[in-house]
């Protein structure tokens, strides 16, 4: 007879026994060991039927194909750029993935991206040995000018964006900032002035600090209203 040892939405730690017996199946963040299902990450339990999944509350970024990330140029060669995307291995941006321009042999690549330039890019490929290729040739991917960079735990990114972008929309609307949230936990934002940039930063860091609390959208809304005086910035540039 199988026994479930945890409830739905319960916070579990790595190594905790989640269920006994063969009736349940481990999904992401859980493994089977003998008769038991064991949690392998710090997170919240999500039960769906017989499937036990752990939604992590903290994680290190592991690139996946299709992720939109924010990164910066760490180094460049004669034909490619090395981009730091917050992963242990640098991502490679090849010449054909960087621009549709014709680049002459021996041209100076810094005219496109130079050391320290930030960009929004998409993970094009991840090989078995975790070599990462990224691309810039898709709509919405671009080089970033000005603004500021903040880093959060990648596990909090879904919370910062919210359901269908609801949370990030609240922050954008009340501060007038352009915000790009990378799946790797690196966030770029640029506002109409310093004050609004700082309010947006503070709002995002609050979500990062307490992403596991309930009713976070209302809390953030109240916080922004208090700090900006309830002023809405209306139409802002798409970021």
């Amino acid at each position: 007879m199988s026994k479930l040892l945890i409830e739905d939405k319960e916070v579990v730690i790595p190594g905790q026994i989640l269920a006994e017996g063969m009736d349940y199946l481990p999904s992401n963040g859980a493994i089977r060991e003998g008769d038991n299902i064991i949690s392998t990450s710090m997170g919240v339990v999500s039960l769906s039927g017989r499937l036990i999944k752990i939604i992590p509350l903290t994680k290190r970024y592991v690139p996946q194909i299709g992720d939109v990330v924010v990164g910066f140029v760490k180094d460049l060669t004669y034909s490619s750029w090395f981009i730091d995307i917050g992963y242990s291995n640098d991502a490679v941006l090849s010449m054909k993935d960087a621009t549709s321009d014709f680049i002459e042999r021996g041209a100076d690549l810094t005219q496109y991206f130079s050391h320290g330039d930030y960009m929004v890019a998409k993970i094009a490929n991840v090989t078995k040995t975790k070599a990462v290729d990224i691309t810039m040739r898709e709509p919405g991917l671009k080089k970033l000018y000005g603004g500021k960079i903040i880093e959060v735990n990648p596990a909090r990114v879904p919370r910062i964006i919210g359901k269908q972008g609801s949370m990030i929309k609240i922050i954008k609307d009340s501060t007038g900032c352009m915000i790009t949230v990378g799946q790797n936990g690196i966030i770029w934002l640029k506002g109409p002035d310093l004050k609004n940039e700082l309010i947006a930063t503070e709002a995002i860091m609050r979500i990062n600090e307490c992403s596991y609390t309930q009713g976070l959208t209302e809390q953030t809304e109240a916080f922004l209203k208090e700090r900006t005086g309830g002023k809405q910035h209306g139409v802002h540039q798409e970021a």
């Binding site: 790595p14 190594g15 064991i38 710090m42 242990s88 291995n89 975790k130 596991y212």
Partner: protein
């Protein structure tokens, strides 16, 4: 005369006061404090990041590197020379070996994960406190782990098996003392660290391992509570 009454009045199987806190160093990927009586260890996890020299990197997984260090003022009065020494290098190595079996680092090939362990105050049992703190810090950073790691030292003083020696007991001079530092996985009971100073009979060591199995339950509870506290999992009752 046998050792029947402990120097600080604890029961034979009683641990010192255990405390833990997760997320104490904001700039680290994961961090934790672990306190056992007067021994206080801080651990911070950095990475995964590039490994130098490159030849150290493994093609299929990350390398776990631990750095154990006692601070200059941490000892009983004498200045402790900080930085790598014969002793701290050995403890760094056994700490990494104690933690490696629970970690799955295949998501980060060719990279390195650094765990810095600093002891700001010491009263024996430092490698054990360091391992407990490091396990918490790695869980806080979000690495995949199949179990926690709990560590505590057992001792045989003048033929009596006791739990969690402090410095005064380690230096007990009215009889022979054996100091047995162990790390154990709380779920499976596997031993990932076992080192001993001194001499003890086979029976005493078996008795000490049995006592260890009981003692780590308390340590595991403290570690679990510390992690749940940071991540909002503590229920109001």
């Amino acid at each position: 005369m046998a050792y029947t009454k402990r120097l600080d009045g604890r029961k034979l199987d009683e641990l010192r006061k255990v405390e833990a806190k997760v997320g104490v160093i904001k700039t680290a990927a994961g961090s934790a404090m672990f306190r056992m009586g007067n021994t206080i260890a801080y651990a911070a996890v950095r990475g995964p990041r590039e490994v130098f020299p490159r030849s150290m990197a493994k093609p299929d997984t990350a390398v776990l590197r631990c750095y154990y260090d006692m601070m200059a003022f941490s000892g009983a009065g004498e200045r402790v020379r900080p930085g790598p020494s014969r002793r701290s290098k050995e403890i760094s190595m056994v700490t990494a070996k104690a933690l490696e079996p629970v970690l799955d680092l295949t998501e980060f090939p060719k990279s390195g994960i650094d765990v810095f362990i600093e002891l700001i105050q010491t009263d024996a049992g430092t490698r054990c406190a360091g391992i407990c703190a490091a396990a918490l810090a790695l869980a806080d950073a979000g690495f995949s782990m199949k179990d926690m790691v709990c560590a505590v030292a057992m001792g045989v003083i003048d033929g009596t098996v006791v739990a969690d020696l402090d410095k005064a007991e380690e230096d007990y001079d009215k009889g022979p003392v054996a100091d047995l530092a162990m790390a154990m996985l709380p779920r499976s009971g596997e031993v990932t660290l076992m080192q001993m100073d001194g001499e003890a009979s086979q029976e005493h060591i078996i008795e000490a391992v049995e006592l260890m199995k009981k003692s780590i339950k308390k340590i595991y509870e403290v570690q679990k509570k510390a992690l749940l506290e940071k991540y909002g999992g503590v229920k109001d009752e």
